[in-house]
Structure formats: structure tokens, C-alpha cells
């Protein structure tokens, strides 16, 4: 599978989903600033190509585990997202009934085991989902998205070892966005993350995570390999977090950890811009792109209206769901 093989239809479809993620996240930034959200949000802006390029290969029976920056993964894997937005609003109609919020958006019916508030928390969960897919004799796979910061949790090494031993259908997708919270990656991370797979005999690759075609190709190969019993792969996606670690971070940080100029420079290669250029290169008209974008705007507007108008949960719901 190579990036050149991608059809213009597929590319347009993926761009549409990336655009949707961008719209949702920009809107969340707005409503967060306006005080309409109960809790903090970590936005995925600048990393959209990764979730979309990977999830394009997955069915509802394949699993993903995600991070505190998890809206994008949800939006990439499921076409239904009104209830995800309602969850971030803390409403009864939310996909977790308002119990989880931004850091725990999940839709198990779509193979989304959820965002996660524990850095590295998804790695072992996905290894378990891969184990289950394997023992049940399916061709399904598990994908874990995690950050460069999470790559410093010991659980990554434990999971690589067991995934290698048992040829688990596990794809470890590290999104290296340049920062672990407020620390530049290089100040807290030794060596190359993709190379952490090598000693275990697991293939590791470094991929341009801002080019959805490259992500799609690399993920496609890894997922196909996992489906056919070939085992795990570690993909390090090089990207850049364009917004803060968490919205409104400037209100509580006493000093900055990166310059505005750096952010602007990195914006030049942001994934939506690259995808549009690729679409033009593939002969897709500006008109076709604009039509798709308009469709997404309408859908996103509807989702936010749905969320904002949804009722709050009943207080008694707080005491449900602890046990099956």
C-alpha cells in the first residue's frame, strides 16, 4: 500500500472528516472560552490527519483506544457525533450520559473504547482488546493512539514485549506533537520513539503525520499485517500541536514554553492545508471541496445545537453504572 495508490474519492472523504474534526474543535474552543463547558478540553487541531488516516481502515468491530486529546479519534472512527458533543457539554444525552466528559468520550458500539485521562492508559487496554480479538478468532485489530509523552510510560515497553511474544493484532500509533504538556519532547524523551519497537522485533516506522496520504498508507500496511496474523507495529506520527495543551492555558502559566513564531511556522504544513493541496493535485475541484465543507458545517452546527439544548442528567444517575 503506498500513498500514491490513494483514490481521489478516498482522499476527499478523508479530507471531509478532517475538516469536521477541525470545525468541532474550533467550536469547542469558542464555547470553552465563553464558559459553556463544565470542564477543560484538550484539542486535536493540527493532528487530524492521523486519526482520519488510521481509522479509514477500521470497521466498527475493530477497536481504538485514545487519549485525553481524544475528540478527533472519536470523530474519525464514528460517523455519529452529536452525542459526543453532548458528552463534552455534560448532558444526559451524552454518549456516556455525562459521566465521562471530554477526557472519556467513548462509543463501544462503534469500537471506540474511549479517550483516557491517564497518560499511557490506553496502551494496555488496546493490548487486551487485541488479545481478545485474537483468542476469539476474528480478523479484528486494536489501535492505540498515544502521545510522545505517553511513550515514556513503562507500560509501552511491557506492551511491546507481550505483543511481540504473542503476535498480537495491535497497532501502536504514537502522535509525536512536539510536546508533553509544557515540556518540549526532546527535553523529556531520549532516542527515537519509533525505534523503541526495534529491540522487541516489532517493526517501527516514522511517518509524516501531517500528510493524510502517508498516514493512510502506513496505517493500511500495519493494519493489514496485523489482520493476517503478522503481529504488532509501532508507528510514530510526526505532527505538531497547534493549540495549547489545554484550552485557556495562558491564563495559568507564568511563562511560555514555545514562541508564537514557532506555531505560525508549523502552521504552514498543517494537515488540512496539505490535504487541500493534494486534492487539487488529484484534480478535485475547489467547488467539490467547498460543497463538502458546507455539508460538514451544517452537521457540526446541528450537533452543537443538539448538545446545548440537551437536558442535564438527573442527579440520581450519579449512583448508577458502578457494577454490571
Amino acid at each position: 500500500m503506498s500513498a500514491q495508490e490513494i483514490s481521489s474519492e478516498r482522499l476527499l472523504q478523508m479530507y471531509g472528516r478532517m475538516f469536521r474534526i477541525r470545525l468541532v474543535e474550533e467550536r469547542l474552543a469558542q464555547v470553552q472560552a465563553a464558559g459553556e463547558l463544565p470542564g477543560p478540553v484538550h484539542l486535536y487541531i493540527g493532528q487530524e490527519a492521523i486519526a482520519v488516516g488510521v481509522c479509514a481502515h477500521l470497521s466498527d468491530q475493530d477497536w481504538i483506544c485514545s487519549t485525553h486529546r481524544g475528540h478527533g479519534h472519536f470523530l474519525a472512527k464514528s460517523d455519529e457525533f452529536q452525542r459526543m458533543v453532548a458528552e463534552v457539554y455534560g448532558r444526559a444525552t451524552g454518549v456516556c450520559g455525562g459521566k465521562g466528559g471530554s477526557m472519556h468520550v467513548a462509543d463501544v458500539s462503534k469500537g471506540i473504547l474511549g479517550a483516557n485521562g491517564i497518560v499511557g492508559g490506553g496502551i494496555a487496554l488496546a493490548a487486551g482488546a487485541a488479545l481478545s480479538a485474537q483468542t476469539r478468532g476474528t480478523r479484528n485489530v486494536a489501535v492505540v493512539f498515544f502521545g510522545d509523552g505517553a511513550a515514556n510510560q513503562g507500560v509501552l515497553f511491557e506492551a511491546l514485549n507481550v505483543a511481540a511474544l504473542w503476535s498480537l493484532p495491535l497497532i501502536l500509533v504514537c502522535e509525536n506533537n512536539g510536546f508533553s504538556e509544557f515540556s518540549p519532547t526532546a527535553t523529556v524523551t531520549a532516542g527515537e520513539i519509533w525505534n523503541r519497537a526495534t529491540p522487541f522485533g516489532v517493526p517501527g516506522r516514522s511517518v509524516d503525520g501531517n500528510d493524510v496520504r502517508e498516514v493512510w498508507a502506513a496505517a493500511g500496511a500495519a493494519i493489514e499485517r496485523a489482520r493476517s496474523g503478522g503481529g504488532a507495529t509501532l508507528l510514530e506520527m510526526r505532527t505538531y500541536r497547534l493549540r495549547g495543551h489545554v484550552e485557556a492555558e495562558k491564563s495559568f502559566l507564568s511563562k511560555s514554553y514555545r514562541s508564537d513564531a514557532e506555531v505560525e511556522e508549523r502552521r504552514e504544513r498543517e494537515p488540512l492545508r496539505l490535504a487541500v493541496a493534494a486534492l487539487h493535485g488529484a484534480g478535485v475541484t475547489a467547488d467539490a471541496i467547498a460543497k463538502l465543507e458546507e455539508k460538514e458545517r451544517v452537521a457540526v452546527q446541528a450537533a452543537f445545537e443538539y448538545a446545548a439544548e440537551s437536558p442535564w442528567p438527573e442527579p440520581g444517575a450519579a449512583f448508577e453504572h458502578m457494577f454490571a
Partner: protein, 328 residues
């Protein structure tokens, strides 16, 4: 006395102690930029050798603290949110809490683990736990839970001079609250409670974050003619049972308020000890106000339903404060 924020008070305590004692080092995630504010300015003042910004690797951090402390350093290990104590829990439970004991007293482990605990800010179940009871159950670990900036400074300084692992658990989201903070060398001995309000009808013991709603409850109860003796233990290991029992001896009634889940909470432990040592003093059953045994939910409506507030404390007191001591 100057009014300062809780995080400033802790920051001041750490800064003063690091000046005083060159063996103190700091490890923790983002301690150089300090989103919480309690380690702000330390790296500029003491340098990157003594103040180490660590990767997200709690299991090595909590264990390195033990290794460094056993070999001559005095360690501040900043774990940020209390829930990340769980990711670093192995070395806390299996090493910090028992290494000295297992080695027949050969080592000292001067460690200050710091974290913010508790809910109320819609950060959901993985950022809102109050896990002091789990730490209490380990033995070998001291735990301080300041409810005011002044106490935070005095307790932090005392903790930094203690030769044992101590947890400083600050109520999340309360770091900005203002209070009087004594200047200079101010310490509060670990294990000494404070009676925040004097009263004769009911004893309320409130832990950490719960002191604030308990104070509000005291006012509401006073308006109804009920006077409360409000005890803030300030440290839950060691626990000042003498102060609690002395108060119960006057009132004969006890309500314990804790933001932990009720089962095996600090409230449970206090209730059990008072029943054991002071059964003869009691005129009514002991009340516990705590979080029911559920995770902390995200939606503010749900979160409000689980975290104790002044109204629930008032209810619990009224339940045992009726004349004759018969619960309603």
C-alpha cells in the same frame, strides 16, 4: 501577617527549606513551568541539577524518590494529580512504605510526595479521587492535608524536615484560596489537630477539602442554635485522636466529613477509633458524610450529587443532634 494563596504558601515553604537544606531535590512532571504554581521559580533559583523536570514516568519517579532518599538526598516528588499516585503506586506501597522496616531500620526515607486530590471541577473520575485512605492503610506513610494557606506552609516545612515518606495532599482547585501565612520559620508539628470552632453540642471532624463546607455548616447550625466543635486533624497520619476524643467528651456526638469514598475512608477510621476508645462518651450514633462508593462523574449536576457539601453536613448533624440523642 500577609495574605497569600495556598500554592504560594507551599512554594514559600519549599523555597525556604531548599535554602536551608542543600540536600533537598525536586523531581516531577513540568515542575520547571509549574502549572499548579507550587514549584514556580525553583529551577531559576536552585538550578536544573536540584530541580529535575521528569518525563511522564510515575513508576520510576516514585521509586527514584525512595532510592535517592535512602542514599542521602531529601526528595520532593511532585505527582501532580492525586490519581497519578496510582500510576506510581508500586514503589509507594512496596518500597517507600516498608523499606526502612524490612531493612530493620537501616535507612531513613525523607520524601515529600505532593499531589492535588479531590473533585468539584468537572475533570471526571481519573482526575478527582481522594486516595488518602489507601495511603493511610499502607502504614509507614505520613499524610498531611492542609485546609488553609497558613497550615499548608507550616505542615509543608515540617514534612520537609521529617525523616519519613510524607504525602502533602492539597485540595485540587483550592490552591488559589487566600489566607494568612506567617513569615519565615513557621512549622506545625505533624499529628496536631486544630479546633477551628469551639462548641458543645456536636463534634464535626472535617478532613482537608471538607473543612470549608464544614465551616459553612457551622454557621448554618449556629443559626439554628446548635454549637459545633469543628476539628481539622490537618494530618491523617499521625491522627490526633486525643484532640478528637477530648471534643467528643464534651459533646457526646460526632460527625466525620471526608471527600473519600465512604468504605474504608478516613471517616470510617476515625469513627471506628472513637467507638473503640470513646464508646462511653457517645450519646448518639456516629455520622459519616462521605462520597458514596462511586467514581466521581464529570457533569456538574452529577458531581454535586456525590461530593459532600454544607447542606449534607447540616443534615447529618441534625440527625444526631436532636434532644435525647435519638436519631430521627
Amino acid at each position: 501577617m500577609a495574605k497569600k494563596r495556598m500554592v504560594q504558601a507551599i512554594n514559600e515553604a519549599i523555597t525556604e527549606e531548599m535554602e536551608r537544606d542543600g540536600s533537598i531535590i525536586v523531581i516531577g512532571e513540568d515542575v520547571h513551568i509549574s502549572p499548579v504554581g507550587d514549584t514556580r521559580g525553583l529551577i531559576e533559583r536552585f538550578g536544573a541539577s536540584r530541580v529535575r523536570n521528569t518525563p511522564i514516568s510515575e513508576s520510576v519517579m516514585s521509586g527514584m524518590a525512595v532510592g535517592a532518599a535512602a542514599t542521602g538526598s531529601r526528595v520532593i516528588c511532585h505527582l501532580f494529580y492525586g490519581n497519578f499516585i496510582y500510576t506510581g503506586f508500586d514503589a509507594i506501597a512496596n518500597q517507600a512504605a516498608k523499606l526502612r522496616y524490612m531493612l530493620g531500620g537501616q535507612v531513613k526515607l525523607p520524601i515529600l510526595y505532593m499531589a492535588m486530590i479531590g473533585g468539584g471541577r468537572s475533570v471526571a473520575a481519573q482526575h478527582s479521587d481522594s486516595m488518602h485512605p489507601m495511603l493511610m492503610n499502607l502504614g509507614g506513610i505520613k499524610i498531611v492535608m492542609p485546609a488553609s494557606p497558613g497550615d499548608a506552609k507550616g505542615l509543608a516545612k515540617a514534612a520537609l524536615r521529617d525523616d519519613n515518606p510524607v504525602f502533602l495532599l492539597q485540595a485540587a482547585g483550592r490552591g488559589g484560596e487566600l489566607g494568612e501565612v506567617p513569615e519565615g520559620d513557621y512549622t506545625i508539628p505533624l499529628g496536631k489537630a486544630e479546633e477551628k470552632r469551639a462548641g458543645d453540642d456536636v463534634t464535626v471532624v472535617a478532613i482537608g477539602s471538607m473543612v470549608k463546607p464544614a465551616l459553612k455548616a457551622c454557621d448554618e447550625l449556629a443559626a439554628r442554635g446548635i454549637s459545633v466543635s469543628l476539628i481539622d486533624p490537618r494530618t491523617v497520619v499521625p491522627m490526633d485522636y486525643d484532640a478528637i476524643l477530648a471534643s467528643v467528651a464534651r459533646t457526646g456526638r460526632l460527625v466525620v466529613v471526608d471527600e473519600a469514598r465512604k468504605s474504608c475512608s478516613a471517616a470510617s477510621e476515625i469513627a471506628a477509633t472513637v467507638a473503640e476508645r470513646g464508646f462511653h462518651l457517645l450519646k448518639a450514633p456516629i455520622g459519616r458524610v462521605a462520597v458514596e462508593d462511586v467514581a466521581i462523574p464529570y457533569s456538574p449536576v452529577l458531581e454535586k450529587a456525590v461530593i459532600p457539601d454544607a447542606a449534607r453536613i447540616v443534615d447529618a448533624v441534625l440527625k444526631i443532634a436532636v434532644s435525647g440523642g435519638v436519631p430521627r
